[in-house]
Amino acid sequence: MSTEDIRNFSIIAHIDHGKSTLADRILEYTGALSEREMEDQVLDQMDLERERGITIKAKAVRLDYTSAASGGSYVFNLIDTPGHVDFSYEVSRSLAACEGAVLVVDASQGVEAQTLANLYLAIEHDLAIVPVINKIDLPGAEPERVKKELHDIAGIDPDECILASAKTGQGTVDILEAIATRIPAPKGSPESPLRALIFDSHFDPYRGVIAYVRVVDGQVAPGMKIMMMATGKVFDVDEVGVFRPRMEVIDKLAAGEVGYVIAGIKNVKDAHVGDTITDAQNPAESPLPGYRKVNPMVFCGMYPVETNRYEELRDALDKLQLNDASLVYEPETSVALGFGFRCGFLGLLHMEIVQERLEREFDLDLVTTAPSVVYKVVKTSGEVIDVDSPAKLPPAGEIQRIEEPYVRATILTPADYVGPVMELCQERRGEYRSMEYLSESRVMLEYDLPLSEILLDFFDKLKAKTRGYASLDYEYSGHRESRLVKLDILLNDKPVDALSSIIHTDKAYQRGRQLVEKLKGIIPRQMFEVPIQAAIGSRVIARETVKALRKNVLQKCYGGDVTRKKKLLEKQKEGKKRMKQLGNVEVPQEAFMAILKVD
């Protein structure tokens, strides 16, 4: 096989535009899987991925393609990419392993925010673009409009757009031909010292870390000593191979090729996505560009509902982290919730996925505290600290200023909803940057927004205000100074650490009011009156009262009722046991979730 015959490409698309279905068709057509083995969306292996219709981890498949038109034989490496903004760094590493990208756009939805974000990333990486307009078999399809959008936005030649239906298979051959003819073969020097880009990795309990690599220069083969250029760690290569899509051992991976390396690596942290593998004996002078350590953007506390399952939670997090280097956590203690972990995530979706996996795969019931961004606090002493939890905020007197993370958000919306979208951004302390009409009916808005303001329900609100038509993409754009305060919630005059939050001064009063009202509805009556207060420092800004329980009595109890009535009492008692005891106040678990869901 010559390097000339290799085509390395990704499929990029907005969510639900048909990326996975197209991948299935390509696998099917190239015979990577027999029809019997074919299962829809083969590349999305985790249950969660399939349910949510998103791809969480990138994967790579090697395919053989013989062109019917030219008779030429090719080796295709299809590198799958995650489709969500939380994983944009992983997307960028996957794209860095490619020479081309198939851009899939839904024929009725048209260009969406992640279409653009992914397209820009691909252009940044100098990739050849194969534009595909998908789902043209559906009644609402408007391929001509989509062509025009692609042309107006990205200068894509309408004649190059391939009309396809991944569902019916229409256009699949055209796409494969375009991959063969329009995407260049990899460049790179087989003679130079080894440089291979890690674009993904996963942990296998029997074999250790399996690193997914694109060899750029040189070659890698079993027996070699390799070095991770970011960490300097050295490993012995046990095996190299390719995915077809099952693992298949080969002698070596040479320049231009995509495959896997197994080298007795025990921890995914030693095979960072974006790192460069080189030959330990004959190292390259410089690593491939673009490596950076990914820092978590969102933190929250995770606590087991049953406090005695703390160790189980630790084991579960350990196991998840084997496969997910971007998940960080450290032990945390809450007066309200007991022992748990402060966990850091790439974004909110990442957080939800981890939470769901912990509950589903490890059968844990969790209390999750409100997510927090990472604030930079400049203390009066001049010291700068990172604060990822309200509990870590120093006393007001020691704070010189606080900075919060901002993102540059790109929102695509039908023109009819520009007003409501701008209103929403304004409410969320957004700063207007620009507005551009992509067509008569579609508008691209850019806003700078505090990350904390889009953490909770921004996307849901955006969808609601635009009947589901708007799309959103964002990237971190730096920290800015902000007027922020810590809002405490007191139950029966005692602050509850798990209910504290850091919030903009202008919003503190409103949020304090909403929170105490919400909690009043959640906290059941107790044997005594329970005041609920919202406070900034020692200043109470909102107050509600849960009246004392007056009557709780089963009035009817005769011979036939004894067993049943006892069951009712047992149920009541069980309910109490599930509540968290804060001082002498019993608080249901959902109170801690309430803080997440305040309008």
């Binding site: 009556r525 709780n552 009595v553 009817k556 005769y558 011979g559 009492l569």
Partner: protein, 407 residues
């Protein structure tokens, strides 16, 4: 401290008697709140095939149990025929049940024999049949003295029907009548509840039971609640109504002797006291429960299944639960505390060979500190407990107290 009302029950025999409950699972129609084991009668006069078959089965079950009681030398101290609506049976069938029970069970001559009756189902013939059979206590389901409310909760009777039934019962010679009332009904306010209490007390029944409306799943009210048609009564109003009943009935000479029960002196219900003392009772009929020989039994629920089993010579018992001594201790306290006189350490010790303080010291101390339990007369001498009883506050929060005595 009030009169020890249990004296009556205790003195009726040196522990050699049992209580017997007999279930009649028929009604003219189902009330909207009712989740009892009861079914509308197919025919109007309560003398159809299903009712007859059921009555025959009951008498057979009574015969089987009667033999066993007799062998052990146990007598029936109290007999309670409840439902459903026992008086929805035709007078002929009612007489047949009563005669069958009397013939087959070793009923003491001075036994308390109660029949539940609903206004609209009572006539001279039935009253006479009951008196002839030795029934000496009648329990009438008045529920409310308010035609609008009665209609709203699906009762078949109006206030006038109740008044007629009550008068007829008195005329026939019943000298011990209970009236059942429900409060916290949809649309009922405190004033209307007071009117109901006043109207009932004006009749001077010997006994009054008052329950708050509980909306159960599977009832029409349950469905209305789910659909948002029915709003449950606010906890404050519910509590105010309960308070009013307690105060008003006390004022009129009714002794509050159990959470929901009030009686003129000497008229507390001996049968029900058996339950609250956690003593033995037998239940006959579909879905009836028994507490006997350290076990709790329940019969099959459906009348049809019950009849089939009895006719086939099979036991009607569907479930048996062995009660451990530990559970029996807890039950004795939980049920005993329902009675305002409370639980006597002397009796508890006599039964279990352990003092209340030893069995439940920490629970009692905590509840006493919370003002829910009264320990002795004078206060909280936890080291020497003679008696524990609910305080006024504890009455309203009895579940909070009971829960503490669960494992």
């Amino acid at each position: 401290m009030g009169v020890d009302l249990c004296q009556e029950a205790c003195h009726s025999g040196p522990g050699d008697g049992v209580a017997v409950y007999v279930h009649i699972p028929f009604c003219v129609r189902k009330c909207y709140y009712c989740d009892f084991n009861s079914y509308p009668l197919d025919d109007d006069d309560g003398d159809g095939d299903a009712a007859r078959a059921y009555v025959d089965a009951l008498v057979r079950e009574a015969a089987l149990n009667g033999e066993q009681l007799a062998q052990r030398g146990l007598e029936v101290r109290t007999l309670y025929i409840g439902g459903g609506t026992p008086t929805s049976l035709h007078a002929r069938l009612l007489a047949r049940v009563l005669a069958g029970l009397g013939r087959n069970l070793p009923v003491r001559r001075d036994a308390e024999i109660t029949v539940e009756a609903n206004p609209g189902t009572l006539d001279g013939a039935k009253l006479e049949a009951m008196l002839d059979a030795g029934v000496n206590r009648l329990s009438l389901g008045a529920q409310a003295m308010d035609d609008d409310l009665l209609a709203r909760i699906g009762r078949i009777h109006r206030v006038g029907d109740f008044l007629e039934s009550f008068a007829a019962a008195r005329r026939a010679g019943f000298q011990n009548i209970n009236v059942d009332l429900i409060f916290a009904l949809p649309g009922q306010d405190l004033a209307r509840w007071r009117e109901t209490l006043e109207a009932v007390v004006a009749l001077a029944p010997e006994h009054i039971s008052t329950y708050n409306l509980v909306i159960e799943e599977g009832t029409r009210f349950g469905r209305e609640l789910e659909a948002g048609i029915l709003q449950p009564v606010d906890e404050e109003l519910d509590a105010d109504m309960y308070q009013l009943a307690i105060d008003y009935l006390a004022e009129r000479g009714y002794e509050h002797y159990e959470i929901s029960n009030f009686a003129l002196p000497g008229h507390s219900c001996l049968h029900n006291i058996t339950y609250w003392r956690n003593e033995a009772y037998l239940g006959l009929g579909a879905g009836a429960h028994s507490h006997f020989d350290g076990k709790r039994y329940s019969n099959v629920l459906l009348p049809g299944d019950y009849v089939t089993r009895i006719e086939g010579g099979l036991s009607p018992v569907a479930e048996v639960e062995q009660v451990t001594v530990e559970t029996e201790k807890r039950d004795t306290v939980i049920l005993g505390l329902r009675m305002l006189r409370g639980v006597l350490d002397s009796e508890f010790y006599a039964r279990f060979g352990i003092h209340l303080r030893e069995a439940f010291g920490p629970e009692i101390l905590e509840l006493s500190n919370q003002g829910l339990l009264r320990v002795n007369e004078d206060g909280d001498n936890i080291n020497n407990i003679d008696i524990i009883a609910l305080t006024r506050r504890g009455l309203f929060l009895a579940n909070e107290v009971f829960m503490r005595f669960l494992p």
